[in-house]
């Protein structure tokens, strides 16, 4: 294949991933409102379109047409940059994720991955960790104490839980011997019993918990929790700038859902008669639903309790898990 063809293919894939994930993210907001509403004995959005589906469009119009406010004392360039960083890093991280098994259209084999890097997992986690600049820069530049508190919480929480997610995922990697997500997926082919979930239950749990914390979901949504720090780093943001944070957050949520599905739950290997693509969709949907379910069910923790859990419980457990895996492997 010529170089130009590769470039064109990559650009097409990137655009597809971007638009599909952005669309899914927007749709997820509607799903979130509906699911939460039904769990909370209310109806959720009902007035715009059938069952409120068009609420998405209404929200979009609102976000785009809202007055764009930049506080007087804010550091303007950084204030403007922060939401862009948050959204971009969330989407760039998706470049190395294989979503579906490869398929053939008109005799042309398509690999549904923007770029097959052999350290894909490291790449995804690395780029996602760059996303921390979003909240951090927003909080620093807003000239608002609530934003500052939110930024401090964001940095402490996300950096700490990156340690847990990194260490927890190390044990499965040791078993597989590759950082490529495609290799990880292929390692688990051959049915539900081959899922890494059964071989690495502790790593799975730790990674899932860290995923909740890194995506700032309840019960770990301390970063912008209204009752305590108003809106955290996003206090001074309005309109589409705020919307970009929101989109980034949902994209991160989808990334984590996809990662858990691929690393621990068999990825896109077909189960019985269900094709791999559908299996993958179902798994990701399940994880998104789980995020919402947990949000509806639990109160959230205090930042210092969160740190306690992270450094004194989860991290030692992750280390022990690595040790045990190492001993077993040797």
């Amino acid at each position: 294949m010529s170089e130009t063809a590769v470039i064109i293919e990559t650009i097409v894939k990137a655009v597809v991933v971007l638009s599909v994930v952005a669309g899914m993210g927007a749709f997820a907001t509607w799903i979130e409102r509906k699911v939460l509403a039904f769990m909370q004995r209310r109806l959720g959005p009902m007035h715009v379109g059938p069952y409120g589906v068009l609420q998405l469009a209404a929200d979009g119009i609102k976000l785009f047409t809202k007055e764009d406010i930049i506080p007087q004392n804010a550091l303007k360039p950084i204030f403007v940059l922060a939401p862009i960083v948050a959204a971009t890093s969330a989407f760039v991280a998706m470049a190395a994720i294989p979503y579906f098994p490869e398929f053939t259209v008109f005799g042309y084999t398509v690999h549904p991955i923007v770029s097959d890097i052999n350290v894909a997992l490291l790449y995804v986690m690395g780029v996602a960790s760059v996303g921390i600049y979003g909240p951090l820069l927003a909080g620093m530049s807003s000239a608002n104490k609530w934003s500052l508190l939110g930024a401090a919480r964001a940095v402490v929480q996300i950096l700490s839980f990156e340690v847990v997610s990194g260490l927890s995922v190390l044990a499965p990697i040791m078993m597989i011997g590759s950082l490529s997500l495609i290799d990880i997926n292929d390692f688990q082919s051959g049915g539900v019993t081959n899922w890494l979930l059964w071989k690495q239950p502790l790593a799975f749990l730790l990674f899932a918990i860290a995923g909740f914390a890194e995506t700032n979901r309840s019960p770990f949504d301390t970063i912008e929790f209204e009752a305590e720090i108003v809106s955290g780093f996003a206090t001074e943001y309005s309109g589409m700038r705020w919307g970009l944070f929101f989109v980034g957050e949902y994209a991160n949520m989808i990334t984590i859902a996809v990662l858990v599905s691929i690393i621990f739950m068999g990825g896109y290997n077909p189960i019985w008669f269900i094709p791999g693509a559908i299996v993958m969709l179902l798994k990701v949907s399940f994880w998104i639903f789980l995020f919402l379910w947990v949000r509806a069910a639990w109160p959230h923790v205090r930042p210092d309790q969160l740190m306690w859990v992270c450094w004194k419980v989860l991290m030692p457990l992750a280390l022990v898990n690595i040790l045990i895996t190492g001993i077993v492997l040797v």
């Binding site: 909370q40 009752a227 305590e228 509806a296 109160p299 210092d304």
Partner: protein
Amino acid sequence: MTVKNFKTLFENRYFIEDSGAFIVEKSNILDALHVIKNRDNYTLLLDMTAVDYLKKDSSKARFAVIYILRHSDFSQILMLKVYLDATLTLPSVTSLFKSANWAEREIWDQYGIQFQNHPNLKRILNHKEFIGHPLCKDYPITQGQLCTKTDDLMDEMTPLLKSKGYENFEDLMFLNLGPAHPASHGTIRNFVALEGETIVSTVSEIGYLHRGFEKSCENHTYNQIIPYTDRLNYCSAILNNIAFAHTVEGMLGVEIPQRAQYIRVIIGELSRAIDHLVCLAAMLVDMGALTNYWYLYNPRESVYTLLSKLTGARLTNSYMRIGGVSRDFYEGFEEDLRYSLKDIQKGVGDTLKLIAHNRIFHDRTQNVGIIKKDEALNRGITGPNLRACGIAYDLRVAKPYYGYDTFDFNIPIGSTGDVYDRMMVRFEEIEQSIYIIKQAMKRIPKGDIMLNNHSIALPSKQSVYTSIEGVMNQFKLIYEGVKVPSKEYYDAIEGANGELGFFIVSDGSGTPYKVKVRPPCFYAMSALPSMIEGGMIADAVLSLGSLNIIAGELDR
């Protein structure tokens, strides 16, 4: 009277007024309170207020300050009164009762009486730029003032931090939690100094919702005041109505008909239940447990539907009248009530299922915002907040009214006095209230709902339209109000937040000479700094929520 020690020690140095208040000299007040508190066990300073006798009988002195205390058996109260000389000064009693701190500030603010050795005598309800003292009888009610400057509160914060050993404040971050903060549930300002996210010290500023309730009362007839009382604790408006009507009826020396008493018990307990629902729902939202909000608010909605059918209003019901209640139950009320109670029980049950065994909930609430027994009493905290500390004080049991002694119910108490206890006490009180309502509905007698006394209750429409006496009674009562004999009187009921008392001075006319509410929130709020210092912002939010501060009642 169990003030033996006081009587023996202060022989010839006190005398008793008609109102039952003990009069002591200004120079003796500290000693007298010391003896009364420590020897005679009147350990709870309920309220302090002043009276301006300018337009009544200022022969003895123009101002008097009144201390209302409650005995540690909680059934007896004692009023101590001091007439002031022209210097308008009085020794502060904050060293004996911490609850006197804010009470004295309020008296200084409203009457201009100075308290010597008070730690921080500044205005509390009115704005710091305000000139004059609004509750003085020579301050015209129409004289508004425009105040614009905000208070940076550093005059309180700086000495507080110095006393904690902070010399320069460069490492501290000062933050305003409120007046417009999502968790302040109203407009309350807590100015905190933070070290990281740990609260080093706190200063509260209240009065954002001060609308001169007490001054307004002095210019309205007794029945006209009832709608004003709705706006005190607006989460349980009817309990405020009851407290006020109950006090005035006590001054008149009348007892309302049995059926009216039962109605007051039923609707009052229902109000208590929804007040607790609001407090718990808001608190759980502050904790991020969003779902519980709807579980607890939906039943409240069904109670509001019921109340709007019964009283014509959802929030500010004005259901009580001096001498009874305004309307009898409508047809089908019992069915609606049963449905609402079931709703409440379902909401409470579902919420408890979600949180009762939830580790996160326990970690967030247990051993957070602790207030100890003695401290709570000293601060004048009452109601669920006091019961959470382990003191079983409930006026419904300590000094039963409306036949509460004939109902079978328990008072839940806590053990540590933390946020968890305060929440659980409220959960259990909702259950107990429902239990009381069910008993009362079984026993409620038929009969009148208003006193049959034409100087208190409005005549029936029939007699107004057909007889001259009826017209005149209606006219006199509307224009002049219920004539209450000249008295100084304090009475209280168990409000949703604690002892909700009214101290009323009457002069024989249809308008009270002075009305002072004893708002339970006011004293609970003054304890907040001691609860949240050393904790996190997140804890402060929960502590504030668990005290159930209602700004309408706090600021009046």
